[in-house]
Amino acid sequence: MIRVENLSKDYGRFRALNGISFDVRDGEILGFLGPNGAGKSTTLKIMTTYLAPTEGNVHVDDLNVLDHAMDVKNRIGYLPELNPLYLEMNVFDFLRFVAGARGFEGKNFRNRLSEVIELCGLKGVMHKDIRELSKGYKQRVGLAQAIFHDPDILILDEPTTGLDPNQIVEIRQLIKNLGKAKTVIISSHILQEIQATAHRMIIINKGSIVANGTIDELMADFKGRTRIQLELKNAAEESIRRITSISDVLSLEELSARNGSTSVALEFPNSVDLRQPIFEYAVSEKWTLLEMSRHKASLEDVFRNLTVEGVQHAV
């Protein structure tokens, strides 16, 4: 089990992580979701002992990552962002180096190597230089080095970035297979990625956790909402802001403004229908209502809502 407590990280004066806490349970696949620069990689780098936290703690199986770095490294398999590899080495030499560092020698090494070749589908490329491999194969090599010592915990930072759709499907399948017997943390800025592989997701934005739960739980939170999109003319900004004074409006998001017309999105609980009050409000403010359309919330909206700027008008 991994326990993250009140974790903060400053890069100089920039606060990349702002006191986040969460647990990762044994055997689950946890998706770590957030826009670029949200602090995902920083969190993973602290978990894998590459960086030290400014404040707070990470415990892996009750071992503090600062005090027991070696033990933690032995328990974790890590695929860093951008999948760095020694390009001038061939796959066999590279895996032999990793295996050596992980304490695999002689017969042990050969046995495990054939398992890993099988698992990661590396047959036929073992004697190629890594630089000559396609991106998909490089990713397999990256996964192979991460799982070679059969760690209980697998941490994968953006494992499908830059792959073509077929390769993405292959790598996802591979991760799912590997995840059957392991705790997996997989980070991504792409929602579908997490949706396809993870049991539970944590959404992080600007160094803070904004949502934490199973996909169904997160959906349930937002499924209870109706989203209405309005296109307005002759509407002053402050009069638009005041629309939140209608009771039961949960949030207001300004989508765009051009040629004097403004698009906004409103959310309210499914239990009420605010279309009429909104219309009446528009009439009382002398707005010209060009369009009103109703949407059902999707997981995309959940993600957008939690991570996009300008949604901060939530009441």
Partner: protein
């Protein structure tokens, strides 16, 4: 501890010999040193390698930064540092393994200059074998200090050219420091002279192996290796 260092060492050696850089620098080193040695060898008409022993430390100033510049800077620029430091290998093992690889490459190059030594065995007279051997030992010790300084230079940046220049400056300082003792107040001269590489190499090439010289080489190399390790550890706290 030792086995991890050896793994880093082996990887680094294979990286050297998988690229043309090692071969090119070795050939250039051997050509330059041979030219300076042989061109005056028959004119001077003396059976020693003093010429070689005085030119090699100067070639080191360029040669060693070229060998060490990639050691750590390259891991940074290619992002492999993150992969490497999350393997169960300590920062000290990484630094020492890489340093040993660079030192071995210099030692291997130096071994080729034994051709001149062998030539001398055949045609020389009144050879002082002891002085020749201790001279070589001195060159090896100097290489140990300079490769450690180069490792340090490489640890400071993620750019190999910057690493080259930094290492060059540090090594050049070791070389130049006793050349301007004349301008330095008297109470400083002894200290500066002790820092200077030539001072210690001079003793060794005359066949004098003094514990003061050995302590100098070992502690200077250890100093730079320790600094490099600290720099590597600093990534955690940036």
């Amino acid at each position: 501890m030792l086995s991890n260092t050896l793994k880093i060492y082996r990887r680094e050696m294979s990286a050297y010999f998988n690229s043309p850089v090692a071969y090119i620098t070795m050939v250039v080193f051997l050509l330059i040193s041979a030219w300076f040695f042989i061109s005056t060898f028959f004119l001077v008409n003396e059976s020693d390698l003093r010429n070689l022993f005085s030119v090699v430390p100067i070639i080191y100033i360029f040669f060693i930064p070229a060998i060490t510049m990639g050691l750590i800077a390259r891991e940074r620029s290619e992002n492999t540092m993150e992969f490497l430091t999350t393997l169960p290998i300590s920062d000290t093992e990484i630094v020492v393994g890489k340093w040993l690889a660079a030192l071995s490459l210099v030692a291997a190059t130096l071994a080729f200059t034994l051709v001149h030594f062998i030539t001398l065995l055949f045609i020389g007279t009144n050879l002082d074998i002891g002085a020749l051997l201790s001279g070589y030992l001195g060159l090896l010790f100097a290489a140990a200090v300079y490769t450690a300084a180069g490792t340090f230079g490489s640890s400071l940046t993620d750019n190999q050219i910057t690493a080259f220049i930094l290492s060059f400056l540090i090594i050049f300082l070791f070389f130049i420091v006793d050349k301007f003792l004349f301008f330095v107040p008297g109470f400083l001269t002894a200290a500066l002279q002790y820092i200077s590489m030539d001072y210690h190499l001079g003793n060794m090439s005359r066949g004098v192996i003094d514990s003061r010289n050995i302590i100098y080489f070992v502690s200077a190399a250890a100093f730079f290796l320790l600094l490099s390790t600290r720099i590597l550890e600093m990534r955690k706290w940036r």
